[in-house]
Amino acid sequence: MTVALICSAAALALSAAVLAIKIVVMKRSLAELARQAEEKLREESNVPLSPDSADRDLCRLARSLSCRLDEVISLGRKYREGDMELKRAIADVSHDIRTPLTSAAGYVGLLKKSGLSGKQAEYLSVIDGRIAAMKKLTDELLSYSVAASDETPPELAETDMRAALEDALTQFYAAFEERGIVPAISLPESAVVRIADKDMLSRVFGNILNNAARYSGGDLCVTLREDGEILFENDAPALDEVSAKRLFDRFFTVENARGSTGLGLSIAKLFTERMGGSIGASYAGGRLCIRMKI
């Protein structure tokens, strides 16, 4: 009788222990599954999710989740590849367009010198103007797509931001003068050194200043702070808050400006971010402020 009691007590204790173990393992596996899923997506890893527990339902969950995550990762990769391919294709096409354009411009030049009647000369100058415009557009498109599809890493070195900014401003001095803009420049006393690529930096400044020179309402304020942040402020009557946020989008132009593809600022953003910096625009009280930091 006592033997039977002992046996049944032992059996009960054993099954309780087994169940307790099972529950603990399952709970740990669930937590583990959550962590693995987050890591898998973040690292774009091929490794499937694998819980410690052998419970069938838990394993089915792990399998299904793994498959979905694999799909997401693969879609992400396909998108990036497709995007890269597109940019390369645009670069190639721009290159291809340039050749006949250059040739056409050459012949137009020849034609100009070959003595034309009044009407013919008039038509020719229109053609000349259009070809020049197309060349400019193609150049900008090529410039953007090459910059976007170029995968070489920036040559990062210690660069003096102050000197680079000064150089850029000097280059655009003439352009500003033409429009009657007198830039108000505020630079710190000492050099501000950050890690950046010199060529990329000058292109970024160039594009921003170019944009300012073309579209500013009348003035320009450039401020370089000690912590490396640069502010470009100007009057922008034609702008509004929504447009300001979209300034760096590809092909976005305000008031359909003639002769501009709207890629200048996109290139600036591309390069800034590639150097590890950030760039953004805000609009308040009729003034546009472009903020850039490396």
Partner: protein, 271 residues
């Protein structure tokens, strides 16, 4: 760790030597029972003596079975490079060792049980238990089980660290035999000898001449070493507390292998 255990169990269930040894030990059990039956006319025999036989006192049988089982199981994994795979995919050296220890222990326990299940069924039916109490039988059984697990722990350590089937097999089998001979000799010395002085017919019993310290050490060593334990248990004359001590000492080996063995395993270089 769960995955490692499952992987080792997967191999264990497909391990032919394991099943072979199970059968062998079961058959030995049957023969032991029959053997004891033959003695029935001459002396007081019971299933308890069969139990004693299961400790392999005569040839250190259990030790040899365990050595073969563990050495080939672990050595084969080294030979095929599966051990290498487990390390390279981040199994964790300690976990790999402990998983092997657990599964090997399970297999050795099963082999041990094969003999004793036969005895419990056949032996108790045909021979009965004689004068021995229930707790005595149970304690003897567990003492033997832990001795078997101690053997397993030692051989697991040797196999995992030697990385070679032949080396671990030979050291296991030969080591057990040598220690067995040593133990028997030492025991004989400790018992004392009969000394026949010149011209006299009567023998004089001479107790052991060794200094007390060495005698104590020798006795402790015999209790500690699993082979020594098997000799003691097969004689069947141990008190309950003595058997309890044996279980405790076996646990020392198991802990040593689990903690120390896994630590050393972490430090060794593998091919």
């Amino acid at each position: 760790m769960g995955k490692l255990l499952r992987a080792d169990l997967f191999r264990a269930f497909r391990y032919k030597i394991f099943y072979l040894l199970l059968a062998v030990n079961a058959v030995v059990g049957v023969f032991s029972v029959i053997n004891q039956l033959a003695w029935r006319g001459y002396a007081e025999v019971s299933a308890f003596d069969v139990l004693g036989g299961g400790f392999g006192g005569g040839i250190g049988f259990i030790g040899i079975l365990n050595a073969v089982l563990v050495a080939v199981f672990i050595g084969h994994e080294y030979a095929c490079g599966a051990m290498r795979n487990k390390v390279m995919t981040g199994g964790g050296r300690s976990k790999i060792y402990l998983s092997k220890l657990a599964v090997s222990s399970a297999m050795c326990a099963a082999v041990y049980l094969a003999y004793h299940v036969v005895n419990f069924v056949l032996g108790s039916a045909l021979l009965g238990w004689g004068a021995h109490s229930f707790s005595e039988i149970v304690l003897a059984f567990f003492a033997g089980l832990f001795m078997s697990l101690a053997y397993c722990a030692i051989f697991t350590g040797v196999s995992m660290l030697s990385k070679n089937t032949v080396v671990s097999l030979l050291s296991g089998v030969l080591g057990t035999l040598c220690i067995l001979l040593l133990v028997i000799w030492v025991q004989g010395e400790l018992e004392g000898t009969y000394f026949f002085p010149e011209g006299s017919e009567e023998g004089v019993w001479l107790p052991c001449q060794w200094p007390a310290f060495w005698q104590g050490l020798a006795r402790f060593a015999i209790r500690l070493v699993p082979t020594g334990q098997s000799v003691l248990l097969s004689m069947g004359s141990l008190s309950m507390s003595a058997m309890g001590t044996l279980i405790g000492l076996s646990c020392v080996w198991i802990v040593l292998s689990a903690a120390g063995g896994s630590l050393v395993f972490r430090k060794i270089d593998m091919k």
